[in-house]
Symmetry: C2
């Protein structure tokens, strides 16, 4: 505590991101990064932008990028908002759309940044429990509230909701903003983007960090009705006029230009996930069905924290959350098949399977 | 207005940044960019970082950059906060330090983003008038308040305060955070960094956008007591874990590695400023004394808006604010001597001097 802090700071419980160790030769399966490099055109575009023009401000509206994203999804540019990673986009959505009289609803087990945003902006929230199978139960999202936010697939469970359930939710809550956080959607869930034109309260957020292999570039975006997007623009323009630098804009535009590469790397990760899930099941793990680039798994006979430590001793890092209901699970990012094989061999050894 | 907006969004009056026109061959003197390129090592460092490692998240704490900045200023790394441009750093300072029971004090004529942050976060503020010569009068900052923020040099006037006045202010307000926004300090004012070890309530913000020719890379930072910095970290970690991408970290570190280049480009801009100020005075302009990379000038016989339009017709753009007390001034960024000469020739023609 410091006497100059605001009351807001005193009440915060900041988010703790997955570790980014500064050591080499790790099998790093803890922060849902992509095992494949960005599309070749991305690095080329960034190099092309690395000129003395960096002395100039970027386009504050990133119009080139909005146009590229709008094209990709068949939307208009004014249905696209871009930000410095989808965490920034989500922060603006909490302040600009979800801060209302009623509480925001989200699952008890979900992206642990949501309650952090609520404390930052003084927003009430209510956790809706996942069912016994760790699936989102849409019936729990009825009734008066200030807004809803759900990841699809959910994190850290990986479980995906069918599009029909998202539409049910939108019909249940027509009077508040409904944010579907699709950070992992490209690995096996149906995107709600197709519903945007029919539901003016639907905001879909996505990121280039996972399926586009650009966690290090910090680009995220939101898609929705032009009125919702304008609300986010007003927050952004009251916070930072230029959230995306010139290199991030150029790299992100180039990523959307190579759809074949994008689809092929996603396909490979999905195939590796199914292969890893089978191998883990063969070791006795319970593996939740995943639509993401990670699996969420527990072993009936081995403590998750102990497994994490034993893996770490073998230079393999995975994520473990010491939270109610999920403290016996490990969240394992899908690496290359070779990385997954290294993990499975280590777990076979540790569990004595 | 949109029915899904929060009350916060409804009450915003977003900041309007200077125009970034998408046309070439302009003499662009409207957004205080540097006429010289970034240090050569910066472009090289960015190219070196443009690899497949972009698939990985950046260091959320940007430790390399904090160490480089701390070294440069003779501070400890925990006295350094970094952000996605100094606008983001200022936003966090408003929410984390300046949001208090009492109003924040800042000048009536100053960086027009300050009242925007106040509306974003629900912070009261009181404007303290500049004196008749458009100088900050420190005596006006006494009395109960929630915090103080002042640019030094002030924008858009360019007028600098001596360090003794900053120290007077710190003595007047020991119980609240005092933020000195030094975006332009490298062009001719004394930095308050030397006071940090004696005043635990002093936060100094700086940017790489102006004196380091990196507006397009988006890097800003704050320097102060470790307790103040920890408050900013708590806000940052409740907003976006990774505000600086890998390329921005690498480029910024390289900028601090080339001090000779930095000092030489600042020296050239200061020399061009004095030359331009004299030429404008010779055309009959009143030019405020400037410690920044711009001048603020008015002509007794020519309307500022008309001058701005006439310059624009000649493909020269400068900034004009339609605000009380300063609506007859133009803010002119210091370009190369050649750009300044083009401007002066155009103004000679327009004013018939």
């Amino acid at each position: 505590m410091n006497r100059y802090w605001s009351e807001t700071v005193r009440g915060l419980s900041p988010y703790v991101p997955g570790e980014q160790p500064k050591i080499d030769n790790l099998v790093k399966l803890n922060t849902n990064e992509n095992p494949y490099p960005p599309a070749p055109g991305v690095l080329e575009a960034i190099r092309g932008e690395t000129t003395e023009a960096l002395r100039r401000y970027p386009d504050p509206n990133a119009d080139r990028l909005k146009a590229a994203i709008a094209d990709h999804f068949g939307l208009a540019p004014n249905q696209v908002f871009v930000g410095n990673g989808s965490d920034e986009v989500l922060a603006h959505a909490f302040l600009g759309l979800l801060k209302q009289q009623g509480p925001v609803l989200f699952p008890d087990i979900t992206y642990s940044f949501y309650p952090v945003y609520c404390r930052l902006y003084g927003i009430d929230f209510v956790n809706v429990p996942l069912d016994a199978d760790f699936a989102v139960d849409i019936a729990g999202y009825a009734g008066r509230c200030g807004g809803v936010i759900l990841p699809n697939p959910n994190a850290p469970t990986g479980r995906a909701l069918p599009l029909a359930s998202i539409e049910t939710l939108l019909r249940l809550q027509p009077d508040v903003a409904v944010v579907i956080d699709e950070a992992y959607v490209d690995f096996g869930a149906d995107s709600a983007v197709s519903l945007i034109d029919r539901y003016p309260n639907l905001l879909v957020t996505q990121t280039l960090s996972k399926s586009r292999s650009l966690a290090g570039l910090r680009v995220g975006y939101a898609l929705g009705d032009a009125g919702l997007i304008e609300g986010l623009e007003r927050v952004k323009n009251s916070f930072n006029s230029y959230p995306l630098d010139r290199l991030a804009i150029a790299g992100a535009v180039a990523s959307f230009a190579d759809d074949a590469y994008f689809r092929e790397t996603c396909r490979r990760i999905v195939a590796s996930r199914e292969r890893l899930a089978q191998a883990l099941a063969a070791l006795g793990f319970e593996v939740l069905p995943s639509g993401a680039n990670f699996v969420f798994a527990r072993h009936p006979a081995h403590d998750a924290a102990g497994l994490q430590q034993a893996l770490r001793a073998r230079r393999i890092i995975v994520r473990h959350f010491t939270l109610p209901r999920i403290e016996q699970f490990l969240r394992i990012t899908i690496g290359t098949n070779e990385e997954c094989d290294t993990l499975v061999a280590a777990l076979r050894d540790i569990t004595g399977a």
